[in-house]
């Protein structure tokens, strides 16, 4: 796919116009995407170390910096905050900018925000490895890192929202609702969690309740909004007949934020029983957006999937949508009381979380980035084959993690419920599954390396071309289309 093809097939604006507009947010986007890719590499590296410890518990055990609990949490935080939210911010910026131009001042604010965010993640990961882990799931980054993250997020997020004012169409498109709500959502949940857990800590088990609420809102609602928003953006742009009124995205949007925000509390938690019950009902109600998306994507509208196959990243996006359907279905099933008592505390929960965070969200981000970067830089991917290889590595990696852990988790839960089976035998029986999942971690790690190399290579080309007056004039003036860098 060349630059001219990619912009020509976009229905929003004429080629020349789109090029100069797209170019306006390419620097902030490259910064966001490259740092996200760097964190992805680091996250999968840490995850690999953690995973190898299930083959040999003595591996790197003699230094506190590399003990399982620290490396594992560092991996999770790097993936979620370093890669996930950062890539999400980039894609949100692209979706909100749409056909408007991003003024230079705003480009700088977003870039500065991204820098602060990266500094926060860096300080936080070093903090976790050094023993400053907060202990709260999905919020392990210590309080000093949280401050940097918060300021960085506000700078980038507010700027992204303000770009909507510069839009040319009076209506917001459906992907724009999703990311607009997501920008607001994270600011609120992160403030609440940071304030009540890290700054003026509440007492007792209320800490866990807040952490569960935050985790639920982050993994179900925020990742859902940004991920599905990206998917919709892709589907809308690849649909030829734009402009047909479709209320399903609106319906998914409302049901997702309405039900998803109540899903955090695990069943059987040591809190008054109304809390897990509310969460259970809300999780079951997630079946509504689940079925809507399933019907939209797979329900006999070939136009939605038909002409999108030729685009870079489209396979990622299709995989991600399927993974969202599967992950949400697993979540709904595991909320049923009969199932919950069997799979609580097992690897099944890890498998579900991995399918949601990586299979759905991360894959969606890869797809979005593979698709957006050629648009905004006007260049195709230098390592063209690496895109396809990355897809297969990532897809196989996720499946190699999710399937064994899900099956192993169910077996583990069955055994845990038989008190006559000694605990050590229960753990021993999970080992083969864990060891298979290490293969998945290796594949994902290699995939991330390819992803990062591709982004770096494209940046090198952009920087070189930036020096060329010809390129500069091409990017500024209307006769852009045919230039091959």
């Amino acid at each position: 796919m060349t630059a001219s093809e990619s912009t020509a097939s976009s229905p929003v604006a004429p080629v020349s116009d789109a090029d100069s507009l797209n170019a306006s947010c390419r620097w902030p986007l490259l910064v966001l995407f490259i740092s996200a890719a760097g964190w992805a590499v680091l996250a999968s590296f840490f995850q690999l170390i953690a995973s190898i410890k299930f083959h040999s518990p003595d591996f790197l055990a003699d230094s506190p910096w590399t003990t399982y609990g620290r490396v594992h949490d560092a991996a999770g935080s790097a993936l979620l905050y370093g890669f996930g939210i950062q890539a999400g911010l980039g894609i949100a910026l692209r979706i909100c900018t749409g056909t408007a131009t991003l003024p230079a001042a705003r480009q700088w604010i977003v870039t500065f925000g991204a820098t602060l965010w990266n500094l926060g993640v860096l300080v936080g990961i070093v903090g976790i490895l050094g023993g400053d882990n907060t202990g709260y799931e999905n919020l392990q980054l210590p309080h000093y890192a949280a401050m940097l993250l918060f300021v960085g997020y506000l700078l980038a997020g507010v700027t992204i929202v303000f770009t909507l004012h510069g839009r040319r169409q009076p209506c917001l498109s459906s992907p724009q609702w999703f990311v607009l709500a997501a920008m607001f959502w994270f600011a609120w949940i992160f403030t609440t969690a940071t304030w009540l857990l890290l700054l003026s800590t509440v007492r007792g088990v209320e800490q866990s309740v807040i952490d569960w609420w935050y985790s639920g809102n982050l993994t179900v609602v925020w990742l859902g909004l940004v991920g599905l928003g990206t998917g919709l953006y892709f589907l809308e742009e690849s649909r030829d007949a734009a402009g047909t009124r479709d209320y399903r995205p609106l319906f998914v949007f409302w049901t997702l934020i309405l039900f998803g925000s109540w899903t955090g509390i695990p069943s059987g938690a040591p809190v008054p029983v109304w809390m897990p019950t509310l969460s259970m009902i809300a999780t079951l109600a997630l079946a509504v957006p689940l079925l809507t998306i399933a019907v939209t994507v797979y329900g006999g509208q070939p136009g939605l999937r038909g002409n999108s196959n030729s685009r870079a990243g489209s396979r990622f996006i299709q995989f991600a949508l399927a993974a969202w359907v599967a992950a949400t279905a697993l979540k709904v099933i595991s909320a049923l009381p009969e199932a919950a008592s069997r799979i609580d505390f097992t690897w099944f929960m890890t498998a579900q979380a991995e399918l949601n965070t990586y299979g759905f969200y991360a894959m969606m981000m890869f797809g979005g980035i593979y698709w957006i970067v050629p648009q905004v830089t006007g260049m195709e991917w230098p390592l063209r084959k690496a895109v396809g290889v990355h897809f297969w590595l990532a897809a196989a990696g996720v499946l190699l993690i999710v399937l064994p852990l899900a099956i192993g988790g169910v077996a583990q839960g069955m055994k845990l419920n038989h008190a006559s089976i000694p605990f050590i035998d229960v753990t021993a029986a999970t080992l083969p599954y864990l060891r298979v999942s290490t293969m998945g971690d290796v594949l994902i790690f290699i995939g991330h390396l390819l992803f990062l190399s591709n982004l770096l290579a494209v940046t090198v080309r952009v920087v070189r071309a930036w020096g060329m007056p010809r390129y500069r004039s091409v990017m500024m003036e209307p006769s852009a289309g045919e230039v091959e860098p």
């Binding site: 299930f54 518990p57 003595d58 055990a61 003699d62 506190p64 003990t67 399982y68 609990g69 620290r70 594992h72 949490d73 023993g131 400053d132 882990n133 202990g135 709260y136 799931e137 909507l164 009076p170 917001l172 459906s174 724009q176 609702w177 607009l180 709500a181 607001f184 609120w188 609440t192 857990l197 800590t201 509440v202 007492r203 007792g204 088990v205 209320e206 800490q207 866990s208 309740v209 807040i210 569960w212 609420w213 609106l250 409302w254 934020i257 925000s261 109540w262 509390i265 695990p266 059987g268 938690a269 040591p270 008054p272 509310l278 505390f345 419920n417 605990f423 050590i424 753990t427 021993a428």
Partner: protein, 291 residues
């Protein structure tokens, strides 16, 4: 959905509702918890804060991500009752007859030996109302009986705890580390189960020396390997075989290891509470209410 304001408003309302429901309401209900005389069998205040060294140990536990592999929440599927005959009274025949009338499955033959070896349980794992009616039948003939509550569930059967955990158990922990995965066993009552500090120290140093086939990584960085001076440390680990240090050297726990062990030993939630009744092993002053 034309305007950004409308998106903003709907997101605001949805999130505000969930914030009110899952942050504010729980804060009002459990976040303001206080010590209470809530324990079933005594007037002591519950919960009690952990001693200082154990509190330092909690931060070692947090820093090393122990909660990644260990939960601290025992669950319970329900509870049933045992009936214990404390005193057979003076009229053994009347007692046997009363028990047979109460229809609790005691035959004439077994009723004959009732008075031997008291106190002893005569009914196991029965519903609360049956246990209560049996006790009143026993009392009606001048004998004494009591109801003991037994928690049920796989966690309890694994002897991970005598009862389920409730919100009050965590009141003074900061942070509260409930954990979400059982890669290792539940630790809510590890202090009750494994009170020996030297076991914990050896287990932290080399888990597989104490538990065959354990997956736990060793925490040797919590120990110091140093030359035995003129006065060997009394805290030095007694290790044998491959683990033993060469002659003239000793392995001594660092303060972090001692704090962590103090924390682990402080982990016990075995106070009977009204919301989580169980029978304590201590002699009961009153009968626990059967619910």
């Amino acid at each position: 959905m034309k305007y950004g304001a409308l998106v903003f408003l709907s997101a605001f309302l949805a999130l505000a509702a969930s914030w009110g429901g899952l942050i504010l309401a729980p804060q009002i209900q459990v976040g303001r918890g206080q010590q209470e005389t809530n324990a079933v069998n005594s007037a002591e205040l519950y919960p009690q804060a952990r001693p200082g060294l154990a509190r330092q140990g909690l931060s070692v536990y947090r820093a090393n991500g122990c909660a990644d592999c260990h939960t601290q929440q025992v669950r319970q599927t329900g509870s049933q009752c045992d009936v214990v005959l404390v005193d057979a009274g003076t009229n053994a025949e009347a007692l046997a007859e009363a028990l047979m009338k109460a229809n609790v499955g005691i035959s004439k033959a077994s009723a004959a030996g009732l008075a031997v070896g008291l106190p002893k349980p005569i009914l196991r794992r029965v519903p609360a109302n049956l246990a209560k009616s049996t006790v009143s039948a026993i009392q009606s003939v001048g004998a004494k009986g009591k109801v003991e509550i037994v928690a049920l569930g796989p966690d309890i059967a694994r002897s991970w705890g005598p009862r389920r955990n409730v919100a009050a158990d965590y009141l003074f922990d900061d942070p509260v580390l409930l954990g979400s995965q059982r890669i290792g066993p539940d630790l809510a009552n590890v202090g009750l189960r494994l009170p020996d500090p030297t076991w914990h120290l050896r287990h932290l140093y080399e888990p597989r020396s104490e538990v065959k086939g354990s997956l736990m990584p060793p925490y040797r960085f919590l120990f110091e390997r140093r030359k035995t001076g003129p006065h060997p440390s009394s805290e030095a680990l007694q290790l044998s075989g491959k683990l033993a240090p060469p002659a003239g050297w000793e392995i001594v726990p660092r303060p972090e290891a001692l704090a962590l062990v103090a924390y682990l030993r402080s982990l016990r939630s075995d106070t009977p509470l009204f919301e989580a009744p169980m029978s304590s092993s201590a002699p009961a002053q009153t009968n626990a209410p059967a619910r």
